[in-house]
């Protein structure tokens, strides 16, 4: 893919697409959606099965409202079931000749085993460059810059977008052991963006600074953007970033279809809606998820409805993927969606991640998500890394059970520490928790390194 770069002084990478009026965006979405569903129905066996069982064909649909009203959703279990029952490694989504694939990458596997992602590099999607390009341009990356990548390899050649922007990637492993090298190399090369450096790494940087005497504020002072993803930043990580003058940009996935990043307004993460159809569903609504549901929904999602939606389940349909397009994929992520125009001038939706639907535990009628207890755990000095899990054998529980990581505490003080954590959490959520203390290292081993499972069944 050859990328044409805009003038360096221009804020938008693709001004026409990024600031498109919403009515024009909706028209573009329908054009792209109509192409995508015809393509997917023709080639992806799971998509065809779902639609055939629902008695829907692409030609029956005339607009997005039709689509959201008549097409059943699928989710990770749908794909896993198809994969297991049919021995199809791609869960029935592959819409191209498997022998022609460039690569098979995979998801992180935080909530289960990694899902395989088939790829056709350079020709796997239609439309102009969007994700990463628009976002890092907005963050201020320009040709000639250095960009630090603090990442993994399992997603493939993540450095390509940096090179396409005319910048030079500086490569690091996503590993605490690389932080000192990051600090020193950043001081030398003065990169402008750092991707991906979330809460655990920010907190670990404080430890490295304490032991080496290095000053993160000075050594990381060149960064115009530090991208944080994996899990929400807690209070301590935000405070550290603020102390060091690091401009944090939050980043998340959009239902395994694409990603999203904050712009410089930091008012939610922009979802490029010319690449994905974004819906927000009432998580407790009677939505049909293939093949478990029998009743088709009578209400559509909020795609064309109210501009703002709170604590809805993110449902995504790819509009550009021509390898394995996900169609009405229930992410399990609870988000707030805002489709009002951002102060940056962009018209595409912004989301904030609240938690996972599967993470929610109802205790005495009260909804509790990890985000609700996070700051309380972090506020206890021995638990300042904010490592904890909600123990959730079922969605409804009589008591809130937490497994909390600690450090620097002798055995004789653990009882008092347990009480301290319980009191902080009780004040935050109004429920007295049962707290099990384990070492930080034990929790970190549950990896992958950029996040830990925040909810566990036992």
């Amino acid at each position: 893919m050859t990328v044409t770069l805009p003038p360096v002084g221009q804020r938008y990478f693709d001004p026409v697409r990024e600031t498109m009026p919403r009515d024009e965006l909706a028209a573009l979405q329908w054009d792209l959606l109509a192409e995508t569903i015809a393509f997917a129905y023709e080639r992806a066996p799971l998509v065809r099965r779902i639609w055939d069982d629902a008695g829907v064909r692409p030609g029956d649909l005339h607009d997005i409202a039709d689509f959201t009203a008549r097409v059943p959703c699928c989710d990770k279990d749908t794909l896993r079931r198809w994969r297991t029952e049919r021995g199809d490694p791609f869960g029935g989504l592959l819409a191209t000749d498997p022998a022609g694939l460039t690569a098979v990458t995979s998801t992180s596997g935080t909530t289960g085993e990694p899902t395989l992602v088939p790829e056709l590099w350079g020709r796997g999607s239609v439309g102009p460059p969007a994700i990463m390009y628009r976002d890092f341009w907005e963050m201020g990356v320009r040709p000639g810059d250095h960009v630090s990548l603090f990442l993994f390899t399992f997603r493939g050649p993540v450095f390509a977008f940096v090179q396409q922007l005319g910048a030079v990637p500086v490569l690091f492993d996503h590993d605490v052991a690389e932080i000192e090298r990051l600090l020193r190399t950043s001081a030398e090369l003065r990169p402008t963006a750092l991707y991906n450096f979330g809460g655990p790494m920010l907190r670990a940087t404080a430890e490295v600074a304490a032991t080496t005497g290095l000053d993160p504020a000075e050594m990381l002072g060149s960064y115009r953007a530090v991208v944080a993803a994996g899990e929400p930043l807690g209070r301590r990580a935000r405070a550290l970033a603020a102390d060091w003058g690091l401009p944090i940009f939050e980043h998340s996935s959009v239902g395994d279809v694409t990603g999203c990043f904050e712009c410089r307004e930091h008012a939610g993460m922009h979802v490029w809606e010319d690449t994905v159809l974004l819906e927000g569903l009432d998580p407790d609504g009677a939505w049909t998820t293939y093949p478990t549901g029998a009743t088709l929904p009578v209400e559509c999602g909020d795609t064309t409805g109210a501009p703002v939606a709170r604590r809805v389940e993110l449902v995504a349909t790819s509009l550009t993927n021509r390898v394995a397009p996900l169609v009405r994929f229930r992410s399990g992520d609870l988000v707030d969606i805002d489709r009002t125009r951002c102060a940056c001038g962009r018209t595409h939706a912004r989301i904030r991640t609240v938690g996972r639907r599967s993470d929610e535990v109802i205790v005495a009628g009260r909804s509790v998500l990890p985000v609700d207890v996070w700051e309380a755990v972090e506020s206890v000095p021995a638990c300042r890394l904010g490592l904890f899990q909600i123990v959730r054998p079922a969605r409804h529980a009589e008591v809130l059970r937490l497994r909390v990581g600690y450090r620097d505490t002798p055995p004789a003080r653990l009882g008092a520490l347990r009480d301290e954590v319980a009191a902080a959490v009780a004040e935050a959520v109004g429920l007295e928790p049962v707290v099990e203390l384990v070492s930080d290292l034990d929790l970190l081993r549950l990896g992958p390194p950029h996040k830990i499972p925040r909810v566990t069944s036992r």
Binding site: G144, P157, V168, V170, L171
Partner: protein
Amino acid sequence: MAGIWGVGRYVDGQGRSHAWPVGTEELERDRLVADRWLEAVGLGRGDRCCVVSMLSEAAQTWPLVLAALLRGVQLSFADATAAEAPRLQVLLGTLAHDAVVGVTDELVGALGTLGALDHLLAVPLVVARPAAFAGLGAAGRVVHRMALVGPALALGDEPGGAAACDAGEWALDTEGEQVTVTSVAPRRHPVRHLATAIRGRVVDGHRVVPEPTGPDLARPGVVR
């Protein structure tokens, strides 16, 4: 900044990390070297290869990935850490692979803990770093060798054979038991008699039989 592909990393004989800027011309030469290795081991269109590496090693491994891509080899990826064993288990257990390149001792151990080592042993071409090579040998499987000799990638083209760098790019030697490397062709960041973390025997000035002297993955904390 035309001409710079990226800034990778290499580790010296004292375990120190060095930034390693690589030019696009160097990378293209390294791709051609990797292409010849792929030809030698018989990997081409229709084959599937998993590359096990770290992002910091991409300046060494990307030429191989690119060469494989251009030859029509289908690629998959895993980091070289123990935590990636479940991913490798899924990849190898789900998709038949013809090769896995870059295996480390900690990954072999973690696959064993998962009861999934057979997935790896079933792959026809396994290319392992020194400690993993020794571990797999102890399990009765003689595989191909791979070593990161400072900035140079050395790959063996037969099971149990020495791992080779391209003689036109790198010259290997020893200082005591330590393998040294010198860049022969022009590089943005030339090295001369650089003592590396690899210990072993050098043959013909560009082949190395490394000894398993410690964990395969360097996790250095100091940079120069």
